[in-house]
Protein backbone atom coordinates (compact mmCIF):
# COMPACT_ATOMS: atom_id res chain seq x y z
CA UNK A 1 0.00 0.00 0.00
CA UNK A 2 1.60 3.32 -1.02
CA UNK A 3 -0.94 5.57 0.62
CA UNK A 4 -4.04 5.17 2.69
CA UNK A 5 -6.19 8.02 3.81
CA UNK A 6 -9.50 8.06 5.56
CA UNK A 7 -12.18 10.69 5.91
CA UNK A 8 -9.84 13.48 4.86
CA UNK A 9 -11.26 16.97 5.10
CA UNK A 10 -9.66 20.25 4.26
CA UNK A 11 -11.10 23.73 3.81
CA UNK A 12 -9.65 27.00 2.62
CA UNK A 13 -11.73 29.28 4.80
CA UNK A 14 -15.37 28.65 3.93
CA UNK A 15 -14.48 26.64 0.81
CA UNK A 16 -14.33 22.91 1.29
CA UNK A 17 -11.53 21.58 -0.88
CA UNK A 18 -11.71 17.98 0.33
CA UNK A 19 -14.83 16.55 1.87
CA UNK A 20 -14.41 13.20 3.54
CA UNK A 21 -12.09 11.46 1.09
CA UNK A 22 -11.04 7.91 1.86
CA UNK A 23 -8.58 6.18 -0.44
CA UNK A 24 -6.24 3.27 -0.60
CA UNK A 25 -3.60 3.59 -3.28
CA UNK A 26 -2.06 0.29 -4.20
CA UNK A 27 1.20 -0.33 -6.01
CA UNK A 28 1.79 0.62 -9.62
CA UNK A 29 0.92 3.76 -11.51
CA UNK A 30 -2.13 5.64 -10.30
CA UNK A 31 -3.78 8.48 -12.20
CA UNK A 32 -5.34 11.37 -10.31
CA UNK A 33 -8.09 13.02 -12.32
CA UNK A 34 -10.70 15.66 -11.80
CA UNK A 35 -11.95 18.95 -13.20
CA UNK A 36 -10.52 22.25 -11.95
CA UNK A 37 -11.37 22.80 -8.31
CA UNK A 38 -11.98 19.12 -7.68
CA UNK A 39 -9.37 19.00 -4.92
CA UNK A 40 -6.50 17.27 -6.75
CA UNK A 41 -3.89 19.85 -5.79
CA UNK A 42 -5.01 19.90 -2.18
CA UNK A 43 -4.86 16.12 -2.04
CA UNK A 44 -1.35 16.18 -3.53
CA UNK A 45 -0.28 18.85 -1.02
CA UNK A 46 -1.54 16.71 1.82
CA UNK A 47 0.10 13.56 0.47
CA UNK A 48 3.38 15.45 0.05
CA UNK A 49 3.10 16.72 3.60
CA UNK A 50 2.77 20.40 2.73
CA UNK A 51 -0.64 20.72 4.36
CA UNK A 52 -2.01 19.06 7.45
CA UNK A 53 -5.62 17.93 7.06
CA UNK A 54 -8.19 19.48 9.37
CA UNK A 55 -9.90 16.15 9.81
CA UNK A 56 -9.12 12.56 9.01
CA UNK A 57 -5.88 10.68 8.99
CA UNK A 58 -3.59 8.96 6.58
CA UNK A 59 -0.23 7.45 5.88
CA UNK A 60 2.07 7.72 2.87
CA UNK A 61 4.65 4.95 2.56
CA UNK A 62 3.80 4.13 6.16
CA UNK A 63 4.53 7.66 7.45
CA UNK A 64 1.84 9.70 9.16
CA UNK A 65 0.76 12.68 7.04
CA UNK A 66 0.35 14.85 10.14
CA UNK A 67 3.44 13.94 12.11
CA UNK A 68 6.08 12.71 9.69
CA UNK A 69 5.92 15.17 6.82
CA UNK A 70 9.70 15.56 6.47
CA UNK A 71 10.11 11.80 6.28
CA UNK A 72 7.48 11.58 3.58
CA UNK A 73 9.33 14.18 1.53
CA UNK A 74 12.63 12.39 2.01
CA UNK A 75 11.28 9.25 0.33
CA UNK A 76 9.08 10.87 -2.26
CA UNK A 77 10.04 12.42 -5.59
CA UNK A 78 8.07 15.34 -6.95
CA UNK A 79 7.97 16.64 -10.50
CA UNK A 80 6.05 19.91 -10.59
CA UNK A 81 4.01 21.13 -13.50
CA UNK A 82 5.76 24.47 -13.98
CA UNK A 83 9.21 24.95 -15.43
CA UNK A 84 11.55 25.28 -12.51
CA UNK A 85 15.30 25.65 -12.49
CA UNK A 86 18.09 27.53 -10.80
CA UNK A 87 19.81 29.85 -13.29
CA UNK A 88 23.56 29.88 -13.73
CA UNK A 89 24.19 26.17 -13.32
CA UNK A 90 24.35 23.00 -15.35
CA UNK A 91 22.09 19.97 -15.10
CA UNK A 92 24.57 17.87 -13.13
CA UNK A 93 24.98 20.48 -10.40
CA UNK A 94 21.24 21.11 -10.32
CA UNK A 95 20.30 17.46 -10.02
CA UNK A 96 23.04 16.69 -7.51
CA UNK A 97 21.99 19.69 -5.42
CA UNK A 98 18.49 18.31 -4.96
CA UNK A 99 19.89 14.87 -4.25
CA UNK A 100 21.95 16.42 -1.46
CA UNK A 101 18.93 18.24 -0.09
CA UNK A 102 17.11 14.91 0.06
CA UNK A 103 19.84 13.53 2.28
CA UNK A 104 22.40 12.01 -0.11
CA UNK A 105 26.10 12.51 0.57
CA UNK A 106 27.60 15.06 -1.85
CA UNK A 107 29.78 12.69 -3.87
CA UNK A 108 27.05 10.08 -4.12
CA UNK A 109 24.60 12.74 -5.24
CA UNK A 110 26.98 13.88 -7.95
CA UNK A 111 27.55 10.36 -9.22
CA UNK A 112 23.87 9.58 -9.14
CA UNK A 113 23.06 12.85 -10.96
CA UNK A 114 25.15 11.67 -13.90
CA UNK A 115 23.33 8.33 -13.94
CA UNK A 116 19.81 9.72 -13.87
CA UNK A 117 20.62 12.38 -16.47
CA UNK A 118 21.77 9.64 -18.81
CA UNK A 119 18.63 7.71 -17.96
CA UNK A 120 16.29 10.56 -18.89
CA UNK A 121 18.23 11.24 -22.09
CA UNK A 122 20.16 14.35 -21.03
CA UNK A 123 23.54 12.67 -20.90
CA UNK A 124 25.03 14.67 -23.74
CA UNK A 125 23.78 18.02 -22.54
CA UNK A 126 24.33 17.60 -18.82
CA UNK A 127 26.99 20.32 -18.68
CA UNK A 128 24.96 22.89 -20.55
CA UNK A 129 23.49 25.84 -18.68
CA UNK A 130 19.86 25.21 -17.79
CA UNK A 131 18.73 28.51 -19.31
CA UNK A 132 19.58 27.12 -22.74
CA UNK A 133 17.38 24.02 -22.36
CA UNK A 134 14.29 23.49 -24.51
CA UNK A 135 10.87 22.77 -22.99
CA UNK A 136 11.30 19.05 -23.50
CA UNK A 137 14.73 19.05 -21.89
CA UNK A 138 13.43 20.99 -18.89
CA UNK A 139 10.70 18.40 -18.50
CA UNK A 140 13.29 15.60 -18.46
CA UNK A 141 15.41 17.58 -16.03
CA UNK A 142 12.47 17.85 -13.65
CA UNK A 143 12.04 14.10 -13.86
CA UNK A 144 15.75 13.61 -13.20
CA UNK A 145 15.70 15.75 -10.03
CA UNK A 146 12.61 13.85 -8.88
CA UNK A 147 14.29 10.44 -9.16
CA UNK A 148 17.86 11.35 -8.20
CA UNK A 149 17.46 10.13 -4.61
CA UNK A 150 15.78 6.92 -5.78
CA UNK A 151 12.36 7.64 -4.25
CA UNK A 152 9.88 4.94 -3.41
CA UNK A 153 7.00 7.06 -4.59
CA UNK A 154 6.92 9.58 -7.39
CA UNK A 155 4.39 12.40 -7.74
CA UNK A 156 4.15 13.69 -11.28
CA UNK A 157 2.12 16.82 -11.89
CA UNK A 158 1.17 17.18 -15.55
CA UNK A 159 4.36 15.46 -16.74
CA UNK A 160 3.63 15.89 -20.44
CA UNK A 161 2.48 19.49 -20.52
CA UNK A 162 4.19 21.75 -23.10
CA UNK A 163 5.64 18.80 -25.00
CA UNK A 164 5.44 17.95 -28.66
CA UNK A 165 4.04 14.49 -29.55
CA UNK A 166 7.49 12.92 -29.79
CA UNK A 167 8.62 14.38 -26.46
CA UNK A 168 5.36 13.35 -24.87
CA UNK A 169 5.74 9.79 -26.07
CA UNK A 170 9.29 9.63 -24.72
CA UNK A 171 8.36 10.98 -21.30
CA UNK A 172 5.45 8.54 -21.08
CA UNK A 173 7.80 5.74 -22.04
CA UNK A 174 10.12 6.75 -19.20
CA UNK A 175 7.27 6.92 -16.71
CA UNK A 176 6.03 3.55 -17.83
CA UNK A 177 9.52 2.13 -17.45
CA UNK A 178 9.90 3.59 -13.98
CA UNK A 179 6.52 2.44 -12.74
CA UNK A 180 6.48 -1.01 -14.25
CA UNK A 181 10.08 -2.21 -14.00
CA UNK A 182 11.83 -0.12 -11.39
CA UNK A 183 9.71 -0.78 -8.34
CA UNK A 184 8.83 2.91 -7.95
CA UNK A 185 5.20 3.75 -7.34
CA UNK A 186 3.89 6.63 -9.40
CA UNK A 187 0.99 9.01 -8.85
CA UNK A 188 0.25 11.09 -11.94
CA UNK A 189 -1.92 14.13 -11.90
CA UNK A 190 -2.88 15.03 -15.45
CA UNK A 191 -5.59 16.56 -17.57
CA UNK A 192 -4.53 14.54 -20.59
CA UNK A 193 -6.69 11.49 -20.16
CA UNK A 194 -4.97 9.49 -22.85
CA UNK A 195 -1.67 9.84 -20.96
CA UNK A 196 -3.24 8.43 -17.83
CA UNK A 197 -4.84 5.68 -19.86
CA UNK A 198 -1.55 4.67 -21.44
CA UNK A 199 0.46 4.62 -18.22
CA UNK A 200 -1.82 3.96 -15.26
CA UNK A 201 -3.52 0.80 -14.19
CA UNK A 202 -5.57 2.53 -11.54
CA UNK A 203 -7.36 5.88 -11.42
CA UNK A 204 -8.77 8.14 -8.77
CA UNK A 205 -11.36 10.64 -9.96
CA UNK A 206 -12.23 13.56 -7.73
CA UNK A 207 -15.16 15.90 -8.14
CA UNK A 208 -16.08 18.85 -5.93
CA UNK A 209 -13.84 17.62 -3.16
CA UNK A 210 -15.35 14.17 -3.10
CA UNK A 211 -14.27 10.86 -4.47
CA UNK A 212 -16.19 10.29 -7.71
CA UNK A 213 -14.57 7.00 -8.70
CA UNK A 214 -11.61 4.88 -7.81
CA UNK A 215 -10.28 1.53 -8.87
CA UNK A 216 -8.53 -0.44 -11.54
CA UNK A 217 -9.27 0.98 -14.95
CA UNK A 218 -10.30 -2.40 -16.30
CA UNK A 219 -12.71 -2.99 -13.42
CA UNK A 220 -14.22 0.48 -13.62
CA UNK A 221 -14.87 -0.01 -17.29
CA UNK A 222 -16.58 -3.31 -16.64
CA UNK A 223 -18.56 -2.52 -13.57
CA UNK A 224 -20.32 0.69 -14.33
CA UNK A 225 -21.63 0.20 -17.83
CA UNK A 226 -21.00 -1.40 -21.18
CA UNK A 227 -20.49 0.58 -24.30
CA UNK A 228 -21.94 -0.45 -27.64
CA UNK A 229 -21.69 1.14 -31.04
CA UNK A 230 -24.93 0.88 -32.96
CA UNK A 231 -25.84 2.00 -36.47
CA UNK A 232 -29.40 1.84 -37.64
CA UNK A 233 -31.02 2.43 -40.99
CA UNK A 234 -33.19 5.50 -41.40
CA UNK A 235 -34.40 7.94 -38.79
CA UNK A 236 -33.77 6.61 -35.32
CA UNK A 237 -35.42 9.18 -33.08
CA UNK A 238 -38.01 6.78 -31.72
CA UNK A 239 -35.41 4.07 -31.18
CA UNK A 240 -33.12 6.50 -29.35
CA UNK A 241 -35.96 7.64 -27.11
CA UNK A 242 -36.85 4.04 -26.33
CA UNK A 243 -33.35 3.00 -25.30
CA UNK A 244 -32.94 6.17 -23.27
CA UNK A 245 -36.05 5.09 -21.42
CA UNK A 246 -34.25 1.85 -20.63
CA UNK A 247 -31.63 3.87 -18.72
CA UNK A 248 -29.01 4.00 -21.47
CA UNK A 249 -27.04 7.12 -22.26
CA UNK A 250 -26.87 7.75 -26.00
CA UNK A 251 -24.37 9.85 -27.93
CA UNK A 252 -24.58 10.34 -31.67
CA UNK A 253 -21.45 10.95 -33.68
CA UNK A 254 -21.26 13.03 -36.83
CA UNK A 255 -21.49 9.96 -39.04
CA UNK A 256 -24.72 8.84 -37.34
CA UNK A 257 -23.06 6.23 -35.18
CA UNK A 258 -24.78 5.79 -31.83
CA UNK A 259 -22.60 5.24 -28.79
CA UNK A 260 -24.83 3.59 -26.24
CA UNK A 261 -23.80 3.24 -22.59
CA UNK A 262 -25.81 0.35 -21.25
CA UNK A 263 -26.20 -0.06 -17.48
CA UNK A 264 -25.00 -3.42 -16.21
CA UNK A 265 -28.47 -4.48 -15.12
CA UNK A 266 -30.04 -3.88 -18.54
CA UNK A 267 -30.48 -6.88 -20.81
CA UNK A 268 -28.98 -6.32 -24.27
CA UNK A 269 -31.96 -7.98 -25.89
CA UNK A 270 -34.08 -5.03 -24.75
CA UNK A 271 -32.22 -2.89 -27.27
CA UNK A 272 -33.14 -5.23 -30.12
CA UNK A 273 -36.73 -5.34 -28.90
CA UNK A 274 -36.80 -1.55 -28.93
CA UNK A 275 -35.47 -1.57 -32.50
CA UNK A 276 -38.13 -4.07 -33.55
CA UNK A 277 -40.91 -2.02 -31.96
CA UNK A 278 -39.70 1.12 -33.76
CA UNK A 279 -39.24 -0.78 -37.02
CA UNK A 280 -35.59 0.23 -37.09
CA UNK A 281 -33.11 -1.95 -38.84
CA UNK A 282 -29.91 -2.52 -36.84
CA UNK A 283 -27.01 -2.55 -39.30
CA UNK A 284 -24.12 -2.41 -36.89
CA UNK A 285 -23.87 -3.61 -33.29
CA UNK A 286 -20.41 -3.83 -31.76
CA UNK A 287 -19.25 -3.96 -28.16
CA UNK A 288 -16.77 -1.12 -27.73
CA UNK A 289 -14.05 -0.47 -25.20
CA UNK A 290 -14.93 2.44 -22.95
CA UNK A 291 -12.32 5.13 -22.85
CA UNK A 292 -11.12 6.90 -19.76
CA UNK A 293 -12.73 9.98 -21.19
CA UNK A 294 -16.13 8.26 -20.99
CA UNK A 295 -15.43 7.12 -17.49
CA UNK A 296 -14.30 10.59 -16.45
CA UNK A 297 -17.33 12.22 -18.01
CA UNK A 298 -19.69 9.87 -16.21
CA UNK A 299 -17.88 10.18 -12.90
CA UNK A 300 -17.95 13.95 -12.83
CA UNK A 301 -21.36 14.17 -14.45
CA UNK A 302 -20.52 16.00 -17.66
CA UNK A 303 -20.78 15.04 -21.32
Amino acid sequence: MIAEISDLQFSYGPIKALDGISLNLTEGAVGLLGPNGAGKSTLLRILLGFLAPQHGRGRVLGFDIRLEQARIRRHVGYMPEDDCLIPGMDAVTFTAHFGELSGMPRQEAMKRAHDVLFYVGLGESRYRFLETYSAGMKQRLKLAQAIVHDPKLLFLDEPTSNLDPQGRREILELIQDISSKKDIQVLICSHILSDIESVCSEVVILNKGRLAAQGKLSELRELQYRLYEIRIKGEGEGFTAKIKALGCRVEETEDKLLKVYVPTETDIREIFRAAEEEKSQVRHFVRSRTSLEDLFARAVGVD
Binding site: S41, L48, A70, D82, I86, G121, G123, E124, I147, D150
Partner: protein
Protein backbone atom coordinates in the same frame (compact mmCIF):
# COMPACT_ATOMS: atom_id res chain seq x y z
CA UNK B 1 18.87 12.50 -28.19
CA UNK B 2 17.75 9.05 -27.24
CA UNK B 3 15.90 7.94 -24.22
CA UNK B 4 17.59 5.65 -21.76
CA UNK B 5 21.11 5.78 -23.02
CA UNK B 6 21.74 4.18 -19.71
CA UNK B 7 19.27 2.09 -17.71
CA UNK B 8 17.86 3.10 -14.38
CA UNK B 9 19.53 1.55 -11.39
CA UNK B 10 18.47 1.79 -7.79
CA UNK B 11 20.75 3.66 -5.41
CA UNK B 12 21.92 1.37 -2.67
CA UNK B 13 22.86 4.09 -0.19
CA UNK B 14 20.91 5.36 2.77
CA UNK B 15 19.27 8.78 2.81
CA UNK B 16 20.41 10.46 6.00
CA UNK B 17 18.99 13.18 8.14
CA UNK B 18 21.34 16.17 7.99
CA UNK B 19 22.21 18.13 11.08
CA UNK B 20 22.21 21.26 8.92
CA UNK B 21 19.75 20.61 6.10
CA UNK B 22 20.40 24.12 4.76
CA UNK B 23 24.13 23.53 4.19
CA UNK B 24 23.84 22.48 0.50
CA UNK B 25 21.93 25.70 -0.24
CA UNK B 26 24.66 27.80 1.34
CA UNK B 27 27.53 26.08 -0.45
CA UNK B 28 25.73 26.26 -3.77
CA UNK B 29 25.03 29.97 -3.23
CA UNK B 30 28.70 30.64 -2.48
CA UNK B 31 29.87 28.68 -5.52
CA UNK B 32 27.39 30.44 -7.79
CA UNK B 33 28.45 33.85 -6.44
CA UNK B 34 32.05 33.22 -7.45
CA UNK B 35 30.87 32.39 -10.97
CA UNK B 36 29.33 35.84 -11.31
CA UNK B 37 30.94 38.51 -13.39
CA UNK B 38 33.10 40.96 -11.40
CA UNK B 39 32.37 39.20 -8.11
CA UNK B 40 35.94 38.11 -7.52
CA UNK B 41 37.10 41.64 -8.28
CA UNK B 42 34.60 43.11 -5.80
CA UNK B 43 35.45 40.69 -3.02
CA UNK B 44 39.18 41.22 -3.42
CA UNK B 45 38.73 45.00 -3.61
CA UNK B 46 36.73 44.79 -0.40
CA UNK B 47 39.68 43.17 1.31
CA UNK B 48 42.02 46.04 0.41
CA UNK B 49 41.11 48.11 3.54
CA UNK B 50 41.82 45.04 5.67
CA UNK B 51 45.31 44.83 4.20
CA UNK B 52 45.86 48.57 4.70
CA UNK B 53 44.72 48.40 8.34
CA UNK B 54 46.90 45.35 8.91
CA UNK B 55 49.88 47.26 7.56
CA UNK B 56 48.87 50.09 9.90
CA UNK B 57 49.04 47.72 12.86
CA UNK B 58 52.52 46.67 11.80
CA UNK B 59 53.65 50.27 11.41
CA UNK B 60 52.17 51.20 14.81
CA UNK B 61 54.48 48.64 16.41
CA UNK B 62 57.50 49.82 14.40
CA UNK B 63 56.67 53.49 14.60
CA UNK B 64 60.27 54.55 15.19
CA UNK B 65 61.24 53.06 11.84
CA UNK B 66 58.61 55.17 10.12
CA UNK B 67 59.10 58.47 11.96
CA UNK B 68 59.95 60.29 8.76
CA UNK B 69 56.45 59.53 7.41
CA UNK B 70 54.51 61.03 10.29
CA UNK B 71 56.66 63.97 11.27
CA UNK B 72 56.23 63.28 14.97
CA UNK B 73 52.45 62.75 14.83
CA UNK B 74 52.13 59.29 16.39
CA UNK B 75 48.44 59.79 17.18
CA UNK B 76 47.44 58.85 13.67
CA UNK B 77 48.44 55.25 14.12
CA UNK B 78 47.36 54.45 17.59
CA UNK B 79 45.73 51.03 17.56
CA UNK B 80 42.78 51.20 19.93
CA UNK B 81 39.03 50.42 19.78
CA UNK B 82 38.52 53.47 17.56
CA UNK B 83 40.93 51.93 15.07
CA UNK B 84 38.77 48.80 14.91
CA UNK B 85 35.57 50.82 14.75
CA UNK B 86 37.01 52.91 11.92
CA UNK B 87 37.68 49.73 9.96
CA UNK B 88 34.42 47.92 10.71
CA UNK B 89 32.05 50.83 10.22
CA UNK B 90 34.05 52.77 7.67
CA UNK B 91 32.21 54.24 4.68
CA UNK B 92 34.24 52.24 2.16
CA UNK B 93 33.75 48.87 3.85
CA UNK B 94 30.01 49.42 4.29
CA UNK B 95 29.75 50.45 0.66
CA UNK B 96 31.64 47.36 -0.48
CA UNK B 97 29.39 45.20 1.66
CA UNK B 98 26.40 46.68 -0.15
CA UNK B 99 28.11 45.93 -3.47
CA UNK B 100 28.62 42.32 -2.41
CA UNK B 101 24.98 42.08 -1.44
CA UNK B 102 23.99 43.50 -4.81
CA UNK B 103 26.04 40.95 -6.73
CA UNK B 104 25.72 37.84 -4.59
CA UNK B 105 22.51 38.41 -2.64
CA UNK B 106 19.99 40.06 -4.95
CA UNK B 107 19.04 36.86 -6.73
CA UNK B 108 19.00 34.58 -3.72
CA UNK B 109 15.21 34.47 -3.38
CA UNK B 110 14.12 36.47 -6.42
CA UNK B 111 15.67 33.94 -8.82
CA UNK B 112 13.83 31.13 -7.06
CA UNK B 113 10.59 33.08 -7.32
CA UNK B 114 11.20 33.84 -10.98
CA UNK B 115 12.08 30.28 -11.91
CA UNK B 116 9.53 28.55 -9.62
CA UNK B 117 12.22 26.60 -7.85
CA UNK B 118 10.80 27.14 -4.36
CA UNK B 119 8.51 24.18 -4.87
CA UNK B 120 11.51 21.98 -5.59
CA UNK B 121 13.17 23.03 -2.33
CA UNK B 122 10.05 22.45 -0.28
CA UNK B 123 9.45 19.05 -1.85
CA UNK B 124 12.60 18.05 0.05
CA UNK B 125 12.84 17.52 3.80
CA UNK B 126 13.57 21.20 4.27
CA UNK B 127 11.61 23.66 6.38
CA UNK B 128 11.03 27.29 5.50
CA UNK B 129 13.45 28.39 8.19
CA UNK B 130 16.02 25.94 6.80
CA UNK B 131 15.60 27.43 3.34
CA UNK B 132 15.94 31.01 4.59
CA UNK B 133 18.90 30.10 6.76
CA UNK B 134 20.62 28.46 3.80
CA UNK B 135 20.14 31.61 1.72
CA UNK B 136 21.06 33.98 4.54
CA UNK B 137 24.28 32.10 5.22
CA UNK B 138 25.55 32.91 1.74
CA UNK B 139 25.57 36.58 2.72
CA UNK B 140 26.78 35.74 6.22
CA UNK B 141 29.79 33.97 4.73
CA UNK B 142 30.89 36.92 2.61
CA UNK B 143 30.16 39.62 5.16
CA UNK B 144 31.90 37.83 8.01
CA UNK B 145 34.84 37.38 5.68
CA UNK B 146 35.04 41.17 5.52
CA UNK B 147 34.24 41.98 9.13
CA UNK B 148 34.80 39.23 11.68
CA UNK B 149 37.79 37.58 10.03
CA UNK B 150 39.86 40.78 9.56
CA UNK B 151 38.76 42.05 13.00
CA UNK B 152 40.09 38.95 14.74
CA UNK B 153 43.16 38.83 12.49
CA UNK B 154 43.95 42.43 13.52
CA UNK B 155 43.88 41.48 17.20
CA UNK B 156 46.03 38.38 16.63
CA UNK B 157 48.58 40.32 14.57
CA UNK B 158 48.63 43.20 17.04
CA UNK B 159 49.59 40.70 19.74
CA UNK B 160 52.12 39.01 17.45
CA UNK B 161 53.76 42.29 16.42
CA UNK B 162 53.80 43.60 19.99
CA UNK B 163 55.14 40.33 21.36
CA UNK B 164 53.11 40.73 24.57
CA UNK B 165 49.49 40.81 25.79
CA UNK B 166 49.42 44.42 26.99
CA UNK B 167 46.99 45.39 24.26
CA UNK B 168 44.50 42.70 25.27
CA UNK B 169 44.98 43.56 28.92
CA UNK B 170 44.05 47.18 28.14
CA UNK B 171 40.95 46.22 26.14
CA UNK B 172 39.89 42.73 27.24
CA UNK B 173 36.40 43.29 25.85
CA UNK B 174 37.61 44.16 22.34
CA UNK B 175 37.36 40.62 20.83
CA UNK B 176 33.76 40.46 22.01
CA UNK B 177 33.07 43.88 20.52
CA UNK B 178 34.52 42.80 17.19
CA UNK B 179 32.47 39.59 17.21
CA UNK B 180 29.32 41.36 18.40
CA UNK B 181 29.47 44.22 15.92
CA UNK B 182 30.43 41.94 13.00
CA UNK B 183 27.46 39.69 13.75
CA UNK B 184 25.16 42.67 14.17
CA UNK B 185 26.11 44.28 10.85
CA UNK B 186 25.97 40.92 9.10
CA UNK B 187 22.60 40.07 10.61
CA UNK B 188 21.16 43.42 9.62
CA UNK B 189 22.47 43.25 6.06
CA UNK B 190 21.19 39.67 5.75
CA UNK B 191 17.64 40.65 6.59
CA UNK B 192 18.03 43.76 4.39
CA UNK B 193 19.11 41.74 1.35
CA UNK B 194 16.67 38.86 1.77
CA UNK B 195 13.81 41.29 2.27
CA UNK B 196 14.43 43.02 -1.05
CA UNK B 197 15.23 39.74 -2.76
CA UNK B 198 11.83 38.37 -1.79
CA UNK B 199 9.96 41.45 -3.01
CA UNK B 200 10.51 40.96 -6.70
CA UNK B 201 11.11 38.26 -9.29
CA UNK B 202 13.46 40.57 -11.13
CA UNK B 203 17.03 40.38 -9.88
CA UNK B 204 18.01 43.69 -11.49
CA UNK B 205 15.20 45.49 -9.79
CA UNK B 206 16.27 43.94 -6.47
CA UNK B 207 19.87 45.01 -7.08
CA UNK B 208 18.76 48.56 -7.69
CA UNK B 209 16.60 48.52 -4.55
CA UNK B 210 19.44 47.23 -2.35
CA UNK B 211 21.79 49.86 -3.64
CA UNK B 212 19.34 52.75 -3.88
CA UNK B 213 17.75 52.40 -0.44
CA UNK B 214 21.18 52.40 1.22
CA UNK B 215 22.39 55.36 -0.81
CA UNK B 216 19.14 57.32 -0.74
CA UNK B 217 18.82 57.04 3.05
CA UNK B 218 22.27 58.58 3.36
CA UNK B 219 21.54 61.32 0.83
CA UNK B 220 18.33 62.14 2.68
CA UNK B 221 20.24 62.42 5.94
CA UNK B 222 22.90 64.61 4.34
CA UNK B 223 20.27 66.91 2.86
CA UNK B 224 18.32 67.45 6.09
CA UNK B 225 21.41 67.61 8.28
CA UNK B 226 23.01 70.25 6.12
CA UNK B 227 19.84 72.34 6.09
CA UNK B 228 18.58 71.99 9.65
CA UNK B 229 21.77 70.96 11.52
CA UNK B 230 19.76 68.56 13.62
CA UNK B 231 21.72 65.36 14.43
CA UNK B 232 18.45 63.43 14.87
CA UNK B 233 18.30 63.21 11.08
CA UNK B 234 21.12 60.68 11.34
CA UNK B 235 18.38 58.20 12.16
CA UNK B 236 17.27 58.42 8.52
CA UNK B 237 20.55 56.99 7.28
CA UNK B 238 21.23 53.25 7.42
CA UNK B 239 24.95 53.93 7.33
CA UNK B 240 24.82 56.48 10.15
CA UNK B 241 22.68 54.16 12.26
CA UNK B 242 25.18 51.33 11.81
CA UNK B 243 28.00 53.68 12.78
CA UNK B 244 26.10 54.91 15.84
CA UNK B 245 25.56 51.36 17.05
CA UNK B 246 29.21 50.63 16.24
CA UNK B 247 30.24 53.39 18.62
CA UNK B 248 28.39 51.67 21.43
CA UNK B 249 29.95 48.29 20.64
CA UNK B 250 33.43 49.86 20.83
CA UNK B 251 32.64 52.06 23.85
CA UNK B 252 33.13 55.27 21.92
CA UNK B 253 31.21 58.50 21.78
CA UNK B 254 28.68 58.37 18.91
CA UNK B 255 29.45 60.59 15.95
CA UNK B 256 26.03 62.26 16.15
CA UNK B 257 24.44 63.55 19.32
CA UNK B 258 21.60 61.03 19.21
CA UNK B 259 21.28 58.12 21.67
CA UNK B 260 22.77 55.02 20.09
CA UNK B 261 19.81 52.87 21.17
CA UNK B 262 17.48 54.79 18.87
CA UNK B 263 19.61 53.66 15.98
CA UNK B 264 19.61 50.15 17.36
CA UNK B 265 15.82 50.22 17.65
CA UNK B 266 15.46 51.43 14.06
CA UNK B 267 17.74 48.71 12.72
CA UNK B 268 16.06 46.03 14.83
CA UNK B 269 12.62 47.21 13.69
CA UNK B 270 13.84 46.94 10.11
CA UNK B 271 15.05 43.40 10.77
CA UNK B 272 11.75 42.36 12.38
CA UNK B 273 9.74 43.87 9.53
CA UNK B 274 11.98 42.00 7.08
CA UNK B 275 11.40 38.67 8.81
CA UNK B 276 7.62 39.21 8.80
CA UNK B 277 7.62 40.04 5.09
CA UNK B 278 9.91 37.09 4.34
CA UNK B 279 7.64 34.77 6.24
CA UNK B 280 4.65 35.92 4.24
CA UNK B 281 6.38 36.00 0.86
CA UNK B 282 7.94 32.58 1.07
CA UNK B 283 4.79 31.02 2.49
CA UNK B 284 2.67 32.72 -0.11
CA UNK B 285 4.28 30.79 -2.95
CA UNK B 286 2.24 28.01 -4.45
CA UNK B 287 4.06 24.79 -3.66
CA UNK B 288 1.91 22.48 -5.72
CA UNK B 289 -0.48 23.65 -8.35
Amino acid sequence: MTIREKGYAHWDGQLRERRFPWAPITWLGIRLAFKKKYFKFIIFSSLVPAVVFLVGIYISERIEDFQYMFKGNKQILEVNPAYFKTYLSGDFLLFMMVMIMVVSGAGLISDDLKHNSLQLYFARPLSKSGYLLGKANVIVFFLLLLTLVPGLVFIIFKLLFAGDFRFLASYPWLPLSVIGYSLFVTGFFCSYTLLFSSLSKNRRYVSILIFAVYLFSDILFGFFYENYKNPAFALLSLKANLQQVGSWFFRLKPAYAVPWYWSLLILLAFGIAASIVLNRKVRGVEVVR
